[in-house]
């Protein structure tokens, strides 16, 4: 059964068709969510939310774009909203824990390359970070990223360029070895 037929049947509430669509796309959705949030429990919650919303809104899907692109747009929207909510909550909690954090923050050993890279990616502006992860890490095209983020392929290219430049600067200590 092809995807169009599955979508038509899922629209009519066919649970088997919904499951087939889920099986076809769940890995990609889950791993993208996981790349963006870095937590398995949160990635699972977000993946569930993505598919619940997808099936709820299936009536809005007109078939102009590939289903995968439409699903990507929902995924990025759900994940970004989830992360923003979490960030707001964390910001409130951080104020409460501020005093403790100050006393604990003693000088530690210089973080190694992996840690530095993770910090640098986390520190990127949201648009740059998502674009970098989607393009360079998960292999999305600029067109797919533009559709998913509600921008254009050109914007995606610009964001990626900015992200790479910032990462180069952040990891400048290691760059010398790589070029040699």
């Amino acid at each position: 059964m092809d995807e169009r037929e599955l979508i038509a049947r899922a629209r009519m509430g066919d649970e088997a068709a919904e499951r087939a669509l889920y099986d076809a796309h769940v890995d990609r959705v889950y791993w993208l969510a996981y790349r963006m949030c870095g937590r398995t429990d949160l990635a699972q919650d977000l993946t569930q939310d993505v598919f619940i919303r997808t099936f709820e809104r299936l009536g809005d899907y007109r078939g102009d774009a590939p289903f995968r692109s439409w699903l990507n747009a929902i995924t990025t929207s759900v994940v970004l909203n989830g992360l923003r909510k979490l960030k707001r909550f964390d910001a409130r909690e951080a104020v409460l824990d501020e005093a403790a954090m100050v006393t604990v923050a003693t000088r530690e050993a210089e973080p190694d390359l992996k840690e530095r890279m993770a910090q640098a990616i986390d520190a990127l502006p949201e648009g740059c970070r998502i674009t970098f992860l989607m393009h360079d890490v998960e292999g999305f095209t600029h067109e797919e990223i533009g559709t998913a983020l509600g921008t254009t392929a050109g914007t995606s290219k610009a964001q990626l360029s900015r992200a790479r430049a910032k990462l180069r600067i952040a990891l400048a200590d290691f760059v010398g070895e790589w070029i040699q």
Binding site: E15, R39, D45, F51, A100, M117, F132, W178
Partner: protein, 303 residues
């Protein structure tokens, strides 16, 4: 020189890309497909059930509105009656809000699991995922009557809070579990009270609007707009609160927000036929009133 720089950048970018792909939140093992699907399927079943309940309720309530409107012959008398009805509905909404507040506060303080009746549209995917689907619920998954709503708490497993309802890992680790549990329970209870209050207010508002949508009294329309603005503020806050994490509740609140945003535009001038038609159609297409009535615990609805 430019070529060298560009070439160096390419090398660096490639190293960063490879490093990120291999180490930044790198996938490990398979995603728990079946476990995630259980939650999704349960939420879908609940959504289908609440949709069926809404359409049943709509057929029960729909014929009432036109009859009410058609028996008001004089504009002046209608204006007075309308003003009285809006005032009464507003007062009823406020009183009900207080009643809901007190009732839920009492219930949450008297038991660890508050036995508040929850309509099916409120059920979160995790609720239903953790609840075994008995033959009884399979045969009749749409509890719309008071009796079935009142029975609901007995069979509902306490909700496992979504990860987004909880704090981050760092802060969770920082605080002992024992001290966090009562806070979570109290917070959930507060959000439930707030959601119920808002839904009760919204139902009263929309019922009053339906009855008086042809009113020509500017004061009545302004009063309705002010009331709608208050309810809209609460609705928007709820959408971004943990109460909005429940997919069904979120969908209901989003639809409600849309209608309220239109009602807020009431400026005191009589609505023309197109405006009335738009609002009425939006309410009808989203089954808003029946869904609100289903979501409000039995005995608290204004109609």
């Amino acid at each position: 020189m430019i070529d060298d720089t560009s070439s160096d950048d390419d090398i660096i970018d490639e190293r960063i890309r490879a490093l990120a792909a291999g180490h930044f939140n790198a996938p490990a093992g398979d995603p728990p497909r079946d476990a995630m699907w259980e939650g999704i399927a349960a939420a879908r079943r609940a959504a289908r059930a609440s949709g069926a309940a809404a359409s049943n309720a709509e057929t029960t309530h729909a014929p009432i509105a036109p009859t009410t409107i058609s028996i008001t012959p004089l504009i002046e008398r209608r204006s007075h009656a309308a003003a009285w009805r809006w005032g009464a509905a507003l007062a009823a909404g406020l009183i009900l809000g207080i009643v809901v507040d007190r009732r839920m506060a009492h219930e949450s303080s008297s038991s660890a699991i508050p036995p508040v009746a929850v309509a099916p549209s409120n059920a979160s995917p995790r609720d239903t995922a953790t609840r075994p689907l008995t033959p009884d619920t399979q045969r009749n998954p749409v509890p719309v009557s008071d009796q079935s709503v009142a029975q609901a708490p007995k069979s509902v497993t306490p909700r496992t809070p979504s990860i987004l309802d909880r704090s981050s890992p760092s802060t969770m680790n920082a605080r002992p579990l024992a001290s966090r549990a009562p806070l979570d329970s109290a917070a959930r209870s507060l959000y439930r009270v707030a959601a119920t209050q808002t839904l009760v207010q919204a139902e009263a508002l929309l019922t009053a609007y339906r009855a008086d949508q042809s009113s020509r009294d500017p004061q009545v329309m302004l009063q309705a707009a002010r009331w709608a603005r208050d309810v809209l503020s609460s609705t928007r806050l709820l959408i971004d609160s943990p109460a909005g994490r429940d997919p069904q509740m979120r969908a209901l609140l989003s639809d409600l927000e849309l209608i309220l945003a239109q009602l807020v535009q009431l400026s005191g001038t009589p609505l023309d036929a197109n405006e009335r038609d738009l609002i009425e159609r939006a309410m009808r297409e989203r089954d808003l009133l029946p869904r609100l009535r289903s979501a409000v615990p039995a005995g608290l609805a204004t109609s």
